[in-house]
Amino acid sequence: MIGIIKLVAKRLGFGLVTLFIVSLIIFWAVEALPGNLAEQVLGQAATPETVEALSKEMGLDRPAFVRYIDWLSSALQGDFGSSLANKRSVSEQLEPRFFNTMFLAGLAAAMSIPISIILGVLAALWRDSIFDRGANVVTLTSISSPEFFLGYILILFLAVQNPIFPSISNVSEGMTLGERTFATMLPAITLTLVVIAHMMRMTRAAIIALLASPYIEMARLKGEPRWKIIVVHALPNALAPVINVVALNLAYLITGVVLVEIVFVYPGVGQLLVDSVQKRDFPVVQACCLIFAATYILLNLLADVGAILSNPRLRHPK
């Protein structure tokens, strides 16, 4: 056990270092924009007087390094400053939207992970059959179509021609879980279609790679049925690569939602990000980026830990 804790602590340390580097990049990328930040914000309305006033208000007269430390230490306490556009606190604006995005991603994950693993197992079981090829073609088609295109197709079929789901995912506080799920269904299906191919193909490939191993032959020679060989003997040993690809796709679900949220007018972080970029609302942009980065790093960390735990040599040391 001590070995595992050490490994996990090490990965956690790496994750924190990565996050620190990302925060540097986010801060200095904004800093590196040409001209004064106040000029950028004011745009057409920039006169020397307004720029100077705003610079003072935003604290831009202080050195960048000091502002970075200031920004980072408040961010660590959950305070991302206040929005330039409406002067409201960034965290306050972000919080409901972050919850919405997590809900959408969670729903998509709850659908896509079981489906893709089951499809991958079945494809491995019936390798080179019609099913295997069919699943391959369908998932590859869905992954190679852009999300917004998939989204519109789904709206066409499931909202316009057959009005089953709403085409605009309008969620608000006070909705029940059922209502919320129903409203979020179309974007969740879109995301599912986008991420399923990777996970399914990795599951299939990881299992098939193991089918030539001596312990699989042994299981066959013990007269175990095919499904048991795949599910009981191959799948547990194929978990490490599958977990990694699942985590990458989960991270994608959370960070790659921008387009989907726009298509379905879903009030999530992605939409806020796009709005804020248009409004040059830098504190909000920075906060969104930092949250995306943290999620990405956290999920990869979880994948690493999951992959480590799937190895019986580490779980049960000699």
């Binding site: 001596p214 312990y215 007269g223 009981v232 049960h316």
Partner: protein, 572 residues
């Protein structure tokens, strides 16, 4: 075993009703078996019409070199072919049931329940993700022969009979928590879990050290006797098959050479090929005179200790290797033989002690050594398959060290590579442009030798260079190495666990155990008693061609004095 004892055992067994009648009946009858393997897009026949008869309770040894089709035939006896193989002709009749035409589902009911399989490498054939007991009980539960609980209790009983330590507890471990010899016995127990009529043993001890092998052999023979199970025992080791089989069938490239009961086969082999198999162990080079005491050795290892992380793997090891001489370093896996080689080459910097080349100390790490120092020590590896870059042609593989160390280019380089190919007895015009995959195992090992020679070293480390090869091929390699040593005055460090190889080629022997040198001396002294207890254990554990060897040894030492138990005792 004599008739009466066998019959008595039968009488007490559950199948007592018609034991006499059953034992007379054939259990397995194979006629004209042909098996094809897929090569690119065509089918190539690899077994050409083999007949085989096996009666209940009988052990038939299948013996031959790799490529003889032993394993393929063994698996076919279960109605099974590996992917890319198919049965193309003949009949396989198991207890009245024709396997070649049976549907897969019927065969599945047979496998594990009535015919079981014991694989060569238990470490690879146990699923790393499940405990031994889960894998043991899978077949009985699957075939509805025992409940999970019954099977668990039975497993403990089998573990006890196979003399596994802590039989009540060992099954609840994962495969990586159990040693190789124990795993192999656990796999034999697993094969017994449904009390099958037939077990296929596919080289069950080949991957084990000699002292462990003997323990597994004794256990297998015991349990096969106790339950009166019929067995196909597949191996390439004649001395092993002599201990295990009632009858022996010799195979060569998918054809039967001859078949006879074990004693007559050993005493009077009829066929030329069988005699040649018997004769391979005869190559023996004379021991060269011990070098004068004041001669500076080419390589001297002086009080070297080394560790992987916190684990000490070499403990104060010293030996030296002189020009034109071969030092064999013997010991079981984990004894530190290969680690000593890594310290000499600088791949693993020692913790303390030093390595001297012609009297001058070498830097601990290979990065700090000069190019000329690196050139002087070359290696030949065990697995020629993986030691040669599959994407490079033979000419390029051998040419690389020639240009790297010798700086030769163009026509001169080609000329030197041709010379080297001549030295290893491969025709340059034929082999220069080939890829490693187009060569046989022995030829690949020759290329490995040529690559080492290309650097024009004074000293070569041969790491188990013959253990992956068939005996006849291995002998060719040993003769080649011997000739090259005489021609070029090379010093060899020969790492091996095979004492027959030591007998063949060594001048000086170093015996290692758990990172220490337990005994060292000229070969002739090492093979003459009195020995250090561990050397004695190693020597006496090497199977001999005499069918009574194992019985005699067990009678002499007692069952509790072989294998791991004896290893522990010799450590005291």
């Amino acid at each position: 075993m004599n008739e009466t004892v066998m019959n008595e055992k039968k009488a007490v067994s559950e199948k007592a009703i018609s034991a006499e009648e059953k034992s007379a009946r054939l259990l397995l009858k194979i006629r004209g078996l042909r098996i094809e393997g897929r090569v690119d897009d065509s089918w190539l026949e690899i077994v050409h019409g083999v007949d085989l008869d096996l009666r209940r309770g009988e052990v038939l040894g299948l013996i031959g070199e790799s490529g003889a089709g032993k394993s393929t035939i063994g698996l076919a006896a279960m109605g099974f072919t590996r992917d890319g193989c198919r049965i193309s002709g003949g009949t396989i009749e198991f207890d009245g049931m024709e396997l070649t035409s049976s549907p897969e589902e019927d065969l599945r009911m047979l496998r594990g329940a009535r015919i079981a399989y014991v694989a060569q490498s238990a470490a690879a054939s146990f699923n790393p993700a499940h405990r031994l007991i889960d894998q043991h009980t899978a077949a009985p539960v699957q075939h509805k022969i025992k409940t999970r609980r019954e099977s668990e209790e039975d497993a403990m009983e089998l573990y006890r009979r196979l003399r596994l330590p802590n039989p009540g507890e060992i099954g609840f471990r994962y495969p990586h928590q159990v040693s190789g010899g124990q795993l192999q016995r656990a796999m034999t127990a697993m094969a017994m879990s449904c009390r099958p009529d037939l077990i296929i043993f596919d080289e069950p001890t080949t991957a084990l050290d000699v002292t462990t092998q003997i323990e597994v052999l004794a256990a297998i023979r015991d349990i096969v006797d106790q339950f009166d199970t019929a067995a196909l025992y597949i191996t390439h080791d004649l001395a092993v098959v002599a201990q295990m089989a009632d009858r022996i069938k010799v195979l060569l490239k998918g054809d039967e050479v001859e078949e006879a009961d074990t004693r007559s086969m050993l005493e009077a082999p009829r066929e030329e090929y069988t005699r040649s198999l018997w004769a391979v162990r005869s190559f023996q080079r004379h021991q060269k005179p011990v070098p004068p005491a004041d001669e500076t050795p080419v390589i001297e290892v002086r009080n070297v200790s080394a560790a992987y992380g916190p684990v000490l793997v070499l403990d104060d090891v010293s030996f030296s290797i002189h020009r034109g001489r071969t030092v064999a370093v013997v010991g079981e896996s984990g004894s530190g033989k290969s680690t000593a080689a890594r310290c000499i080459t600088g791949l693993l910097p020692p913790l303390s002690g030093e390595v001297l080349y012609n009297g001058t100390p070498l830097a601990r790490h290979f990065r700090d050594r000069s190019k000329d120092q690196l050139r002087q020590a070359q290696m030949i590896y065990q697995m020629a398959d993986t030691a040669l870059n599959p994407k490079k042609r033979i000419g390029e593989i051998i040419g690389r060290p020639v240009s790297f160390y010798g700086g030769l280019r163009g026509a001169e380089l080609k000329k030197r590579v041709d010379e080297l190919l001549d030295q290893i007895e491969l025709e340059p015009s034929q082999y220069y442009h080939r890829y490693p995959s187009e060569l046989s195992g022995g030829q690949k090992q020759r290329v490995g030798i040529a690559r080492a020679l290309a650097a024009e070293p004074e000293f070569i480390i041969c790491d188990e260079v013959t253990s992956a090869l068939d005996q006849i091929v291995a002998e060719g390699i040993l003769k080649l190495l011997d000739r090259l040593q005489n021609d070029l005055d090379l010093a060899y460090m020969f790492i091996t666990h095979d004492l027959a190889t030591v007998r063949a080629i060594a001048d000086h022997v170093v015996v290692m155990k758990e990172g220490k040198v337990v005994e060292a001396g000229p070969k002739e002294d090492m093979f003459r008693p009195p020995h250090h207890a561990y050397t004695d254990l190693l020597l006496s554990s090497v199977p001999e061609m005499d069918p009574d060897w194992l019985d005699d040894l067990l009678a002499k030492r007692g069952v509790d004095n072989i294998g791991e138990a004896a290893q522990q005792k010799s450590a005291l």
